[in-house]
């Protein structure tokens, strides 16, 4: 009897475990059939248009899922507005932690039960592109409404675009700035001016020990900034074939020398002054740091007492550079090519809804401290009220996207930084070794740069 019970329990556990592996419930509960095609609402959008006056899925009830790793509330707000128009549609927003997301999503997309819509990050482009359906929106209309669309065209189709762009700025401590006798007029626009300001912001004790860094770039900064410094001088990150990284060149050596001099000639910081410039700035030990948009959230969440300001990255001269920096896009959702035809149709319609309107672009841009790529939002008061976005606003089309290149480029750049600043390796030797290792690590990468699609590419 006991044996039978144990066997039954084991079998039950096995079935439950298998059942747990199946897709999540896409309940139609609470939905009602929609019979009113004329909603009496206006068409939204300038070029990408959304006409609400129609039936979705012929008015029959339908439920789909939208997966994301963050910003669930922002998505939910859009979903609520869409569901209000179409009572027969339910879009369930499912939040997955970042690490789980990229493990589960490709597996789900392979099968039939994957989410019809999912948040995309371009660094995972090669993992998911084969499961994505092209947008049912004309590229021309997208290009008129959004910047950077041409970089995302694959065989005349668009699978996702950028709703916002993210790049680097200089964050500064306002209190230290004031203590050093600096005002808004001292905001540097060139690297020479920046060095002078950094020197004024540097403090040492009586023994000559550094107690306040004028500029701190310890940690991830070198790998984030080095390509941008190259672009400022018109140096591309990839060679003519579009696949081989071009790291070992005079421009990289010169820019690395400039950074090296900041610590070793001008003494505005030190590689041993904390190993993380973010924490150092947050703890009030460093006056200036170079960071991307995420820094705003980091400061607001973890260092609310720091009074900070932000300004555009300096350039070699006061002339407009080839590009101010490199950017990376925050991507619009993708559509699952393996979802049923009905689910894909709803997903395409919801996508038009969020891309034709402005709320999605505005709210997600503010959420991620990234500048909206929708042209109509460029002068939006809410966007310009944000200090980080305000710094990017005047030159937003002068930032270049090299494409979602393999992480080996950044990983090896970080290693080059350590070889030079901690292991005392000669700059030229370290960069040469970095180039060699990047080429080796990228040998299997399926990547081709889109630098040539940059608006001002011909200026080189």
């Amino acid at each position: 009897m006991v044996r039978k019970l144990v066997i039954s329990l084991l079998t039950l556990c096995l079935f439950l475990a298998l059942a747990a592996c199946s897709g999540e419930d896409k309940s139609l509960k609470g939905l009602s059939k929609d019979e009113k095609s004329d909603k009496g609402m206006e068409v939204i959008g300038e070029n990408v248009k959304f006409d609400p006056n129609k039936l979705v899925n012929n008015g029959e009830t339908i439920a789909i899922e939208l997966w994301t790793w963050g910003g669930k509330e922002v998505f939910q707000k859009q979903v609520d507005a869409y569901e209000k128009i179409y009572p027969n549609v339910k879009i369930k927003v499912v939040n997955q932690p970042w690490d789980d997301y990229w493990t589960k999503l490709p597996l789900q997309l392979k099968g039939k039960n994957g989410p019809a819509l999912f948040n995309v990050h371009n660094s995972y482009h090669s993992n998911i592109i084969k499961f994505m359906a092209p947008y049912d929106i004309s590229t021309e209309a997208l290009d008129k409404d959004y910047i950077g669309v041409t970089s995302h065209v694959i065989d005349d189709h668009v699978y996702y675009i950028d709703y916002a762009i993210n790049s680097g700025n200089i964050y500064y401590n306002k209190k230290m700035w004031k203590e050093a006798g600096l005002t808004e007029t001292n905001i540097p626009t060139t690297w020479d001016q920046f060095i002078q300001v950094a020197e004024k912001l540097t403090k040492k004790d009586a023994t000559g020990k550094l107690i306040q860094a004028g500029f701190n770039f310890n940690g991830e900064t070198y790998k984030a900034i080095i390509a941008g410094l190259g672009y400022q001088k018109g140096e591309l990150l990839f060679k003519k074939d579009g696949k081989t990284v071009d790291f070992d060149n005079k421009t990289t050596i010169g820019n690395t020398q400039m950074l090296y001099d900041l610590y070793n000639k001008f003494h505005v910081g030190s590689p041993d002054f904390g190993d993380d410039s973010t924490k150092s700035f947050g703890n009030g030990q460093s006056a200036m740091v170079y960071k991307w948009g995420w820094m705003q959230g980091e400061l607001n969440n973890n260092y609310p007492d720091i009074e900070w300001g932000v300004f555009r990255i300096p350039t070699p001269t006061d002339e407009v550079p080839f590009a101010f920096d490199r950017y990376n896009g925050e991507s619009t959702p993708g559509i699952n090519a393996n979802a049923s035809r009905e689910e894909q149709a709803v997903a395409q319609d919801f996508l038009k809804f969020i891309l034709a309107g402005e709320d999605f672009g505005r709210e997600f841009s503010l959420f991620n401290a990234s500048f909206p790529s929708k042209r109509s939002l460029a002068k939006d008061p809410d966007i310009l009220a944000d200090p980080v976005l305000r710094a990017l606003a005047p030159n937003v089309d002068r930032y270049i996207w090299p494409g979602s290149f393999p992480s080996a480029v950044e990983t090896q750049s970080g290693r080059v930084f350590e070889e030079i600043f901690y292991n005392g390796v000669d700059i030229k030797d370290a960069i040469k070794a970095g180039q060699k290792q990047m080429e080796k690590d990228m040998k299997n990468a399926d990547f081709e740069t889109v630098e040539s699609k940059y608006k001002f590419y011909s200026e080189r």
């Binding site: 044996r3 144990v6 066997i7 084991l10 090669s126 993992n127 590689p271 041993d272 002054f273 904390g274 190993d275 030990q285 393999p406 992480s407 080996a408 990983t411 290693r415 350590e418 070889e419 901690y422 292991n423 390796v425 290792q437 690590d441 990228m442 040998k443 299997n444 990468a445 399926d446």
Partner: protein, 290 residues
């Protein structure tokens, strides 16, 4: 009797179900991955873009020519030997101290020494990163030093080794304590009658009788440390530069940063045979000495 016979003939017995589940578990999570790694080591393999092209022994020849592979192997050997020596030494000394009749609060000390062993390695690594911090780390504060422990190529690997020794010596202490408790009393009584000193008793009785225990600690430690990478990942990420790369960290880096699964598989197979060889040698030595 008829019922019993029927029950034994059924394939759905508890024993068969449990064994089948175990077999499925080992086949899916052990045999298949090892087999896949072995096959993949002969391929140019990138699962992210679906590349799986046969390239013979090229992965093996490339890694054997790769300077970073040998740096990582060398770091792994240094790391393993140093940590094992100190683990055995400290573990033995503390076990002897706890075994001594003079020692008090034995249970408390046993617990205190064993606590780091059962604490998750990731958590311990993070705590030590703070201890080593060049600006506000306790180690610099206590000793009045100004060293960037984890960013200096001369101190980084040693710093990770020190943390590992601290975390793991408790295991050796407990194992040695068990070994000491099982030693036969009559040997020591005979030595007392012969007038042997404490050192002589240790040299001629305790140490030789503890050799199987020492081999156990050494071999299990060797297998663990040849695969070390968590503390490297958390504390140095292989840096500064490549100065603290271990072979397991390099495998992780190749597979999950560069997606060169073929190269990473070839490295895993080399490591697999290397560990197997060292373990065989250890067992052979133990057998001969026994």
């Amino acid at each position: 009797m008829e019922n019993v016979g029927r029950r034994n003939n059924s394939i759905f017995t508890l024993k068969n179900i449990v064994v089948t589940l175990l077999l499925i578990y080992f086949a899916v999570f052990l045999i298949y991955p090892i087999g896949m790694a072995l096959v993949g080591s002969f391929y140019n393999w990138n699962p992210m873009n679906g590349t799986f092209d046969f390239n013979g022994i090229r992965n093996y020849t490339e890694i054997l020519k790769d300077k970073l592979f040998w740096t990582s192997m060398s770091n792994t050997m240094i790391f393993s030997i140093v940590v094992i020596v100190f683990r055995v030494l400290i573990g033995l000394l503390l076990a002897l101290a706890l075994f001594s009749k003079l020692a008090r609060f034995k249970t408390t000390f046993r617990t205190v020494y064993y606590m780091p062993t059962i604490t998750p390695l990731v958590a311990v690594s993070f705590v030590w990163v703070w201890l080593y911090n060049p600006q506000f780390g306790l180690i610099n504060d206590i000793f009045g030093l100004d060293i960037n422990w984890l960013k200096n190529k001369d101190t980084a690997l040693g710093s990770v080794m020190l943390m590992t020794i601290w975390k793991d010596f408790g295991y050796a202490t407990i194992i040695y304590l068990g070994g000491l408790m099982s030693l036969p009393d009559d040997c020591f009584e005979a030595a007392d009658i012969d007038g042997a000193s404490g050192w002589e008793k240790f040299k001629y009785i305790t140490w030789p009788l503890l050799k199987p225990t020492t081999m156990l600690v050494a071999v299990t430690s060797l297998i663990t440390y040849l695969q070390s990478y968590i503390q490297i990942l958390v504390m140095t990420e292989g840096g500064p530069g490549t100065s603290t790369y271990t072979i397991s960290y390099l495998i992780f880096d190749e597979a999950f940063q560069n997606y060169n699964f073929g190269t990473a598989s070839a490295m895993s197979i080399v490591l697999f045979f290397f560990i197997g060889l060292l373990t065989l040698i250890s067992f052979k030595l133990t057998k001969e000495r026994n």
